[in-house]
C-alpha cells in the first residue's frame, strides 16, 4: 500500500495527491501538521518537510524526487510529454511555481494566514499579506498569458505543469485571495483542472479552524 504523509496547507502535498490520482494509483493519506511534525516523520525525513511517500518499506522525500519517481514508476498515464524540449518547458513551469510562486506568494499569504497562526499563535501581518497579494497579481497575469497560448499550460494535454500550478493556486483559492474575474483565461484553465476527478478530494479539504472560501469547491465559480 502507498501512503502519503501530507498536509492540506502544503502545495507540494497537494501536487502529489493530484499526480497519484491522475495516474489512478490507490493510496492512503496520513495528515500531519507541518508546524508540529511527529518524531517519526522527522526521523524518516531529515529535511523535516512534507510530503513523504511511503510504500513497501521504502521512503521517498523531496519535492522533485517524489514527482519524478511517480512519473518514472508509472508509465501508463504519462504527465510529461515525450519531446525533450517540451519536458523542459513543463519542468520550467514546475520550477516557477515550486520556487518563485512559493517564495513570492505562498511564503507571504499562506505562511502568514495559516503557518504563523498555528505555530506562533499570532495574527497575520497586514503589510506582509499586502505584499503577497501584490505579488500574486503578477503571477496571475503570467498564468493568464500561458493559458491564452494553449489548452493547457504546455501544449494540448494535461502535464505536471498544470497539476503543480493548480496545486499552488488551490491553497490561495481556499483562502479566497484570487480575484478570478480579473483573469479570464486563467479562470477557464483552472475550471478545467478543477473539474477533473483527480481534484475532487482536494475540493473537500478542510484545514482545522480555517474554513474554505465560499466558492472554493464550486466548479462554477
Amino acid at each position: 500500500m502507498v501512503h502519503l504523509i501530507h498536509h492540506s496547507s502544503s502545495p507540494q502535498s497537494r501536487k502529489m495527491r493530484l499526480i497519484m490520482a491522475e495516474k489512478k494509483m490507490s493510496f492512503a493519506l496520513k495528515e500531519e501538521e507541518p508546524w508540529k511534525l511527529s518524531e517519526n516523520t522527522r526521523q524518516i525525513n531529515p529535511a523535516e518537510e512534507l510530503p513523504i511517500l511511503i510504500f513497501d518499506g521504502n521512503v521517498i522525500c523531496g519535492n522533485n524526487a517524489i514527482t519524478e519517481y511517480l512519473e518514472e514508476s508509472n508509465s501508463q498515464y504519462k504527465l510529461l510529454p515525450e519531446n525533450l524540449k517540451d519536458r523542459a518547458e513543463v519542468r520550467r513551469i514546475m520550477d516557477w511555481f515550486d520556487t518563485k510562486f512559493y517564495n513570492e506568494v505562498y511564503k507571504y499569504i499562506v505562511a502568514e494566514k495559516i503557518i504563523k497562526r498555528f505555530r506562533l499563535k499570532e495574527a497575520p501581518n497586514s503589510r506582509i499579506l499586502k505584499a503577497g497579494l501584490n505579488n500574486l497579481k503578477y503571477h496571475m497575469e503570467y498564468i493568464e498569458y500561458l493559458a491564452d497560448k494553449n489548452n493547457y499550460l504546455v501544449g494540448n494535454e494535461i502535464t505536471l505543469a498544470d497539476l503543480t500550478a493548480a496545486a499552488h493556486l488551490s491553497i490561495i483559492d481556499y483562502l479566497g485571495d484570487i480575484d478570478w474575474d480579473e483573469y479570464k483565461n486563467a479562470k477557464l484553465w483552472y475550471a478545467k483542472i478543477k473539474s477533473r476527478p483527480s481534484f475532487r478530494k482536494i475540493l473537500k479539504d478542510n484545514i482545522r479552524g480555517i474554513p474554505p472560501s465560499s466558492h472554493y469547491s464550486n466548479l462554477d465559480f
Copy 2:
C-alpha cells in the same frame, strides 16, 4: 554551439557547468551579474534568474528543467543511476541542496557577502552571517554522515547529487567559510570531486572585487 548565461555566485550556474563538463559537452559561458541582468536576459527568462541554457535558438530556464534536460539529452555519460529508488535518492539530495541548503546557508552567507554588497552597496549584517554559519555546521554534519556511508553521496559512482552539493559548497568555500578540518569524511569527498577535470574551471573563478579564500583552488587543502 551551446551557451550558458551564468554567474560564479550562482550555485545553480556552477552545477550546470559541472554537469556539462562531466558530460564532455563543449559550451561557451556568458557572464551576467544576477543583481543587474540585461534586458535581453530578463526577456528570455521571465523568472529573471540564472542560469539559462541556449542552443540552436532554443532557450531552457529553470534549475531542474536544465538539469534534467542535460541528463536526458546526453545519455553517454550518465549522472543519474538506473534504479528508480536510487534516482529518487539522488534527486532528494539535489532538492536538499537546491532548496534547504540554499535557503538556510546561501541566503544568509552568499546573499549577505556578495549580492547585498553589489546590489545595495551595503556591508553584510553580522547577525545574519552568524546565523548562516551556524546553519552551515548542521549541513556539513549531514554531508559528513552521507560521505561516511559511500564513496559518493549516493552509492559508488558520481551522480548529480555530488555535483549539486559540490557546486553549492564551492561558493561557500570561495568565501573561506568552511572549516574542513572539522569534517574528515566530507573533506575527503570534496577533495575527490574537486580534483576532477570538470572542476578545473570552477577553481579559476573570480568574482569581481571579492578574491577567493587562500585554499580555494588548492587540491590539497
